[in-house]
């Protein structure tokens, strides 16, 4: 167990370097630089001013030097300075990353919880009305684009019914106190988390259902039934636990894509996460911020996968004994 954790932690180092190098090369390959964007926006045409900005932004050095300097600074926990935002990259990202993580976690929570429940119900009631309904819903949420679903939810719950806010994370300019604030955030979180979570819920429903059905047909389930165990006990003690493994695997794999999906949802709900920062930074070729976001996300995803592995270890004795 300890060895697993240590190896996994060490693996993060080459992963981060790989993420940096790949994204740095990609940004270098894209035409235009941050300098072009900044000088065009500010209408700077004076050659001396251009030269000063070039030095300030570090474009007077070769890309290799820029890259090596950047990797070094990342390992001293310094993600650089963004001249576009006039602030240290780490500050900008840390101000926005928590909101994205909150949205991701709640969305995944919704997806896993309801996905598993629906999957279990569908598999137990296989080929009945309920199974068909759940499968239909799963296909619908899997097929519906998340941004469309988001706008539809806004129209129904915010515009028509007026139950929930259209966007943002808090009600601006009102002080509700500590618990009031938490309730306020929850109210703002419901629609974006649902829009993002329903797509993944559909996947978990399908996987859970298939996995349950597969386990149902295995010998040890027949044995359990033959022993005279109650159906509930067969389902939860034997089938469910064994069917859970593919879901956990999927969870680890999907964390990164949920991050991508949250970028879209943040745009729809004006959720103050890193999505809009990331888009703007890619568009303006602001590589310190782009790399900063990717490095931090890589670390977050790597840690989350480590947690998934540990969960796997606990859930499946066969892995422990290997």
């Amino acid at each position: 167990m300890k060895r697993l954790i240590i190896t996994r932690l060490l693996q993060i180092i080459p992963l981060v370097i790989g993420v940096i190098v790949m994204n740095f090369v990609l940004i270098q390959m894209a035409p235009g630089t941050l300098l072009d964007i900044m000088t065009s926006e500010q209408q700077i045409t004076d050659p001396a001013a251009l030269e000063r900005m070039r030095e300030l932004y570090g474009y007077d050095q070769s890309p290799i030097i820029q890259l090596l300097k950047y990797i070094y600074s990342v390992f001293t926990l310094d993600l650089g300075y963004s001249y576009r935002q006039n602030a240290p990259v780490l500050d900008i990202i840390l101000a926005q990353l928590p909101s994205t993580l909150l949205l991701m976690l709640v969305a995944i929570g919704i997806a896993v919880t309801f996905g598993m429940i629906a999957g279990v119900i569908a598999s137990v009631k296989v080929n009945t009305f309920w199974d068909v309904m759940i499968s239909l819903a799963a296909v619908f949420f899997f097929a519906a684009p998340t941004f469309w679903l988001g706008i539809m939810l806004i129209i129904v719950f915010s515009v028509w019914l007026g139950w929930l806010p259209v966007g943002g994370m808090t009600t601006i300019g009102v002080d509700y106190g500590f618990f009031g604030h938490i309730w306020d955030v929850i109210r703002h979180l419901i629609l974006p988390a649902l829009s993002l979570g329903l797509f993944y819920m559909a996947i978990y429903t399908r996987v859970m259902r298939a996995s349950m059905l597969e386990v149902f047909s295995l010998d040890f389930v027949r044995t359990a039934r033959a022993k005279g165990l109650s159906t509930t006990r067969v389902i939860f003690a034997h089938v469910y636990r064994n069917a859970l493994l593919p879901v956990v695997t999927l969870l680890g794999l999907q964390l990164a894509t949920v991050l991508g999906g949250s970028v879209v949802i943040e745009a729809v709900f004006s959720w103050p996460g890193i999505g809009s920062l990331m888009l703007d930074s890619v568009m303006s070729r602001n590589y310190p911020v782009v790399l900063g976001v990717f490095v931090l996300s890589a670390v977050v995803v790597a840690f989350a996968n480590l947690l998934v592995d540990i969960a796997y270890y606990r859930l499946d004795p066969r892995i422990r004994n290997r």
Binding site: G32, D36, E41, I44, A49, Q85, I151, S158, V166, G173
Partner: protein
């Protein structure tokens, strides 16, 4: 000079009926509605969050909107292109127009309590305007000196037209010396929490969501601002902005906040009002320009034929949902001073375009006349669609078109640095004053490799250069107008660049939002006159 436009007609008839009403019912005046104070206005605009609350030197519309509530200019322009005092109470030219005396307003304090003085103006002109904001406009500027505690004098080596000069004062913000002195203005972290003299104080910026402003209780304009607070919310998605307006969470959206089809849907309810006023100072246009470095494109006959082949009315109708109109000159038709209405129009006529190309020596050979690289700048989604229309129109008359719609950074580089196009579809937002920002598109001085939004077409005409240089120092306003008309005639004939369609920018607001009229540029307005009638 006055042209009968729809707006002119509406305003004059309104004035006449108002006058009639006040004759009939003495004592009743519609104009005297007392503004109510209080309330917080949540506003947005049709674009994204700014990169910083204040970006020295510009930075695009978003930081312009977020900074101008806090920082103020010396003058502002109203919707009749006349100048109104802000931080300056008086601006007077010397007899020969080589010096201007600026008297600043009394009793103005910065948001941190420091008094606003002439030293702030002197610092701003020397350290900010000259090197960063208005370098080209201030090319003849020789110095600024303190006359007394309330007056400064700016001197010039050549006569400087009054409208031109006042426009510089109206489009450049004044910075506090005590905060910026000795620092690099462009990278000072204070730009994210600016200190100004404006009606609103910076309160908080939640990145990715909103900027919050508090009322400036000590604002110099007694009784203003009417609002207690202002919030600029940012949604990346236009459909969500429309939903937020419908849900009542958003009361004001400037510069095309919601999808065009939603504008009609919302305004049908009477709860919302849409207006195209307030965009005089930033008249947006979709432009077409021809690269003179390509010998085929360098031929004005080819340019005319291409313009004749493009169905601009259809583009305005389909791509812009009718919220645009075909351009008629390089100077937008909303420009109340300099627009020249009597120019060749190049109306859509594909057959005529084919004849023109045949006559110019480009007949169809092996199925085509020639091939062009068409670059549509990807910073507006509409540009890509306009590109498709242009491609189709040109292919109909036998010109093969390779259309590219690169993203923003690539478009800037492709058009303004690499000159990698035969025809470029770009955009500009023009002020009423044409020198130097607009003239930079057609002068030889305007060609600066790598500097965006100026002459990328390589056009160089000594007559044009002389004309623009004369316009920059002509102090007779009538003569300047004549010169501007002449400039547009030359452009209409040589066609290095022109307006393909004039975009009609729209503000949408809830009916209860009052007091947004009378602005030349609503984006740059401090919103001190806005109030909520609920």
């Amino acid at each position: 000079m006055t042209r009968l436009t729809r707006r002119f007609f509406l305003t004059t008839t309104a004035a006449v009926s108002l006058a009639a009403a006040s004759f009939a019912m003495p004592g009743l005046s519609l104009a005297q509605v007392t503004p109510k104070t209080g309330g917080t206005l949540v506003a947005t605009w049709g674009g994204f969050e700014p990169q910083a609350v204040f970006v020295p030197g510009g930075g695009g519309s978003s930081p312009l909107i977020s900074s101008t509530k806090i920082l103020e200019p010396l003058l502002r322009m109203d919707d009749k292109a006349e100048f109104v005092p802000v931080l300056a109470t008086e601006v007077t030219a010397s007899d020969d127009f080589t010096a201007y005396d600026i008297t600043i307003r009394d009793g103005v304090t910065w948001h941190d309590g420091e008094p606003f003085t002439v030293d702030d103006v002197i610092y701003t002109v020397n350290e900010y305007w000259k090197p960063m904001v208005a370098g080209a406009a201030l090319s003849n500027f020789t110095g600024i000196e303190k006359i007394d505690d309330k007056t400064v004098r700016m001197t010039f080596s050549k006569p400087t037209p009054e409208f031109f000069f006042k426009n510089v004062l109206a489009t450049s913000l004044v910075l506090p010396e005590h905060i910026y002195a000795g620092t690099e203005i462009a990278t000072n972290p204070i730009n994210n929490t600016p200190v100004g003299t404006g009606p609103f104080k910076f309160k908080e910026w939640v990145r990715g969501s909103h900027i919050e402003y508090d009322k400036n209780e000590d604002y110099w304009d007694e009784g203003k601002p009417y609002l207690d607070g202002l919030v600029l919310r940012y949604w990346r998605d236009a459909a969500s902005r429309a939903a937020a307006m419908e849900a009542g969470e958003l009361k004001l959206g400037i510069f095309n906040p919601i999808p065009a089809p939603d504008i009609d849907r919302l305004t049908e309810t009477d709860d919302f009002v849409a207006t195209s006023d307030g965009y005089l100072g930033a008249a947006w246009a979709s432009t077409i320009e021809f690269n003179s470095r390509n010998p085929v494109m360098d031929d004005p006959a080819v340019r005319k034929a291409i313009l004749t082949a493009i169905d601009r009315a259809l583009i305005a109708d389909v791509v812009y949902f009718g919220r645009a109109r075909p351009g008629t000159s390089f100077v937008s038709s909303v420009n109340p001073i300099f627009h020249n209405p009597d120019l060749p129009k190049y109306d859509f006529d594909p057959e005529k375009a084919e004849e023109m190309l045949d006559a110019a020596g480009y007949p169809i050979k092996d199925g085509k006349r020639f091939t062009v690289e068409l670059l549509a700048a990807g910073w507006f989604e509409e540009n890509g669609k306009v590109g498709q229309f242009v491609k189709q129109n040109l292919e109909d008359i036998g010109i093969e078109v390779n259309l590219k719609v690169p993203d923003r950074a690539s478009s800037i580089k492709g058009i303004y640095n690499d000159y990698d196009f035969d025809i470029a579809l770009s955009n500009h937002a023009s002020q009423v004053e044409q020198v130097p920002r607009q003239t930079n598109y057609v002068t030889t001085d305007g060609i600066v490799k790598g500097a965006a939004f100026r002459n990328a077409n390589g056009y160089s005409n000594p007559e044009m250069d002389a004309l623009v240089n004369a316009m920059a120092v002509e102090v007779d306003e009538e003569k300047r107008v004549e010169m501007a008309h002449k400039m547009q005639e030359i452009i209409a004939e040589d066609l290095p660049i022109t307006i393909l369609v004039e975009m009609e920018s729209t503000t949408v607001h809830a009916d209860e939002v009052k007091g947004i009229e009378g602005r030349a540029d609503i984006s740059a307005d401090s919103l001190s006159d806005v109030w909520l009638d609920d």
